[in-house]
């Protein structure tokens, strides 16, 4: 891929200051997202995985400027989204959309399906009501719902159907890039597969790029081209999915993969388990953030934060001992 990526994120950071409720003094800083960098090519899906509180959702929202980043660059088609003024930002929002996790709170219960789907068009302006309605019908059919249901309210639909409505809304203004923020996590298994297939079909049809944020590693593997793993606000590993799942280089990625339940009862057996709990992103320790739980941690890990570095083709890892671990595993 010699072409410039569609979206290119550099050193994206967001810090939240925690104040004492009584004295108003600063207790500390939560580094919710710390110097995150990645690229997403045209028509590509980057999976973003990690445990709760690792900052994966915040990262998605920073890209859309639903939360204002503190530092960094988000280059979309070569333009830095963080430097745009209100008017330019509004115009570019057509191209970048989001699908949310919760099929219930993501649709306004007081609006009809038509009003929900056409809202991006209405806000952007330049379309007649009639054209907007036609487009809403088309989109509703496209996501597998009955176009005649356009006058209904969200409560008349099931969770999976609501998620389809949310997808139709994201598609309304003809975007190029969609952030799927745990878009299938809240759905029942039998419905989840349908929505995953739908997302893949739409990607092919409209040449969409996805940032697919999820905690379910098997879903991420299925849908992504490349996968980024986050731990406590930082990206610890990015690689093509097969490389990442087959030979993870970061001890955290390895632990995460080992924690996935087996697919068949015959595969049961003792596996190495990661001890401890995800520590807090409030005032993180110097050095590697994973060092407290890492079975291979050395003194240098507690002193110096490892940078994300290239290790093989398009395989980036933030670990001082990635090569050694690789050798041990082999």
């Amino acid at each position: 891929m010699s072409k410039a990526p569609l979206l290119s994120v550099r050193d994206l950071s967001k810090y939240f200051t925690i104040r004492s409720p009584f004295r108003g003094t600063t207790v500390g800083t939560v580094q919710a997202v710390n110097r995150v960098s990645f690229d997403i090519g045209e028509g590509e899906t980057l999976g973003l995985v990690g445990e709760s509180g690792c900052g994966k959702s915040t990262t998605g929202r920073l890209l859309l400027r639903l939360i204002e980043p503190d530092r960094g660059e988000v280059l979309f088609e070569g333009r830095d989204l963080l430097k745009l003024d209100a008017g330019e930002l509004k115009a570019i929002r057509k191209s970048i959309q989001i699908v949310f996790q919760d099929p219930f709170s993501s649709l306004n219960p007081r609006m009809t399906v038509e009003d929900i789907i056409t809202e991006p068009l209405y806000v952007q302006g330049g379309m007649t009501r009639h054209d907007m309605r036609d487009r809403a019908r088309m989109l509703l059919e496209r996501v597998g719902l009955n176009a005649a249901h356009i006058t209904r309210y969200p409560h008349e639909f099931s969770g999976g159907q609501r998620q389809r409505i949310g997808i139709a809304r994201a598609l309304a203004a003809d975007p190029r890039f969609i952030v799927c923020d745990e878009a299938v996590s809240a759905l029942d298994v039998s419905v989840q597969a349908q929505v995953i297939n739908l997302l893949q079909d739409l990607q092919e049809e409209f040449n969409l790029s996805y940032l697919f944020i999820a905690h379910d590693l098997s879903v991420v593997r299925h849908i992504s081209d490349r996968v980024a793993v986050m731990y406590l606000g930082e990206v610890v590993e990015i690689a093509g999915k097969d490389a990442l799942y087959a030979s993870p280089r970061h001890p955290y990625t390895k632990a995460l993969l080992e924690a996935i339940p087996v697919a068949h009862p015959r595969l049961r057996g003792k596996r190495a388990r990661l001890g401890g709990e995800v520590s807090s992103a409030l005032n993180p320790p110097p050095g590697c953030r994973f060092s407290q739980r890492c079975p291979f941690a050395q003194d240098v890990c507690r002193r110096e934060a490892p940078a994300l570095r290239e290790l093989g083709e398009r395989h980036q890892v933030a670990c001082h001992f990635a090569e050694e671990l690789q050798a041990v595993a082999a």
């Binding site: 639903l66 306004n108 809202e119 806000v123 409560h155």
Partner: protein, 297 residues
């Protein structure tokens, strides 16, 4: 009720149904105290509307000859110290009370929503607006109303304004709380991601979803306004002394409480019935629309 859904011309009832949702309407109908409250309120409203028809006598017409008549067939609810017919006065008093209550509710709806929405949505205004409302709420409500009414001079309009000033901060607070809650929901983020501006988000997404607690709050404001208006009028700070106000009637009856207890009891009952009706109505609405919010007083 299904025929309402297919009617092309949405009547007031269909829009109410859409607002409440058919299920909620059914639950309200099954809610016993709500229905009792509703009937009481309808009863008082009917009396207020039809006051000129049902009271054959002018409420201010004095008849020295028939002073202090206890309730009888001739004077349904008796007469007062000036021989005025209490039934007529209570009926016309209902007009005044409901009008004042409605005035306070409307002012609350406009300014409470405005201030609450501003404070809840634009966090920079929140500090100033909420400290102001704290300052107003720090006074005992009736005392504050008395102060304002005394400063502006007694009239029905004064009563409306001073009571509005007392209750607007409370309404604004409730609205602010629900704005904060709704603002966290994802559909607001979806609108933002679509490029929607603040005004659009407030009007299309946030306010329509804050209506349930607002309606509940306003029904209580209505009740408290009627009660407080009676207090103000009783103290001579509300309606003009010649108006047939329930508060003034109680105040006048006070001197004759031994000789003619009905002069105080009857307007007192009128207040009690109206306030009870509104409170039952409000409780029912709260149970069905908004089970989490409790009134702050």
């Amino acid at each position: 009720m299904s025929h309402l859904e297919i009617s092309n011309n949405p009547s007031a009832l269909t829009s109410l149904r859409r607002f409440l949702g058919g299920r909620r309407v059914r639950r309200l109908i099954r809610h016993r105290s709500f229905m009792i409250g509703l009937w009481l309120c309808l009863f008082v409203t009917a009396i207020a509307i039809f006051a000129p028809i049902i009271s054959s006598v002018d409420p201010n017409k004095m008849a020295i000859r028939s002073r202090f008549q206890p309730p009888s067939l001739e004077f349904l609810l008796g007469t007062d110290n000036l021989g005025r017919d209490l039934f007529s006065r209570v009926a016309w008093g209902a007009r005044l009370s409901l009008a004042i209550g409605l005035g306070v509710v409307l002012l609350n709806a406009v300014f409470g929503v405005l201030l609450g929405a501003l404070a809840g949505y634009f966090r920079r205004l929140d500090g100033i607006l909420m400290r102001l409302s704290d300052a107003l709420m720090a006074f005992p409500s009736v005392l504050l109303a008395i102060g304002i009414a005394a400063a502006m001079g007694a009239s029905a309009m004064t009563a409306v304004i001073s009571l509005a000033v007392v209750y607007i901060p409370r309404t604004a607070r409730i609205l602010r709380a629900s704005v904060l809650q709704v603002n966290e929901l994802e559909f607001v983020n979806a609108a933002r991601a679509a490029g929607a501006g603040d005004f659009h988000i407030l009007r299309r997404h946030i306010l329509p979803n804050c209506m349930a607690p607002l309606v509940v709050q306003l029904s209580f404001v209505f009740a408290y306004a009627i009660l407080s208006e009676a207090v103000l009028s009783f103290l001579g700070l509300g309606a003009a002394p010649t108006d047939p106000s329930w508060g003034i009637m109680i105040s006048e009856g006070r001197s004759y409480i031994r000789e003619a207890p009905w002069m105080t009891i009857i307007p007192g009952m009128a207040i009690a019935i109206t306030v009870l009706g509104l409170n039952l109505l409000g409780d029912g609405l709260r149970d069905v629309l908004d089970p989490r919010v409790k009134m702050e007083h």
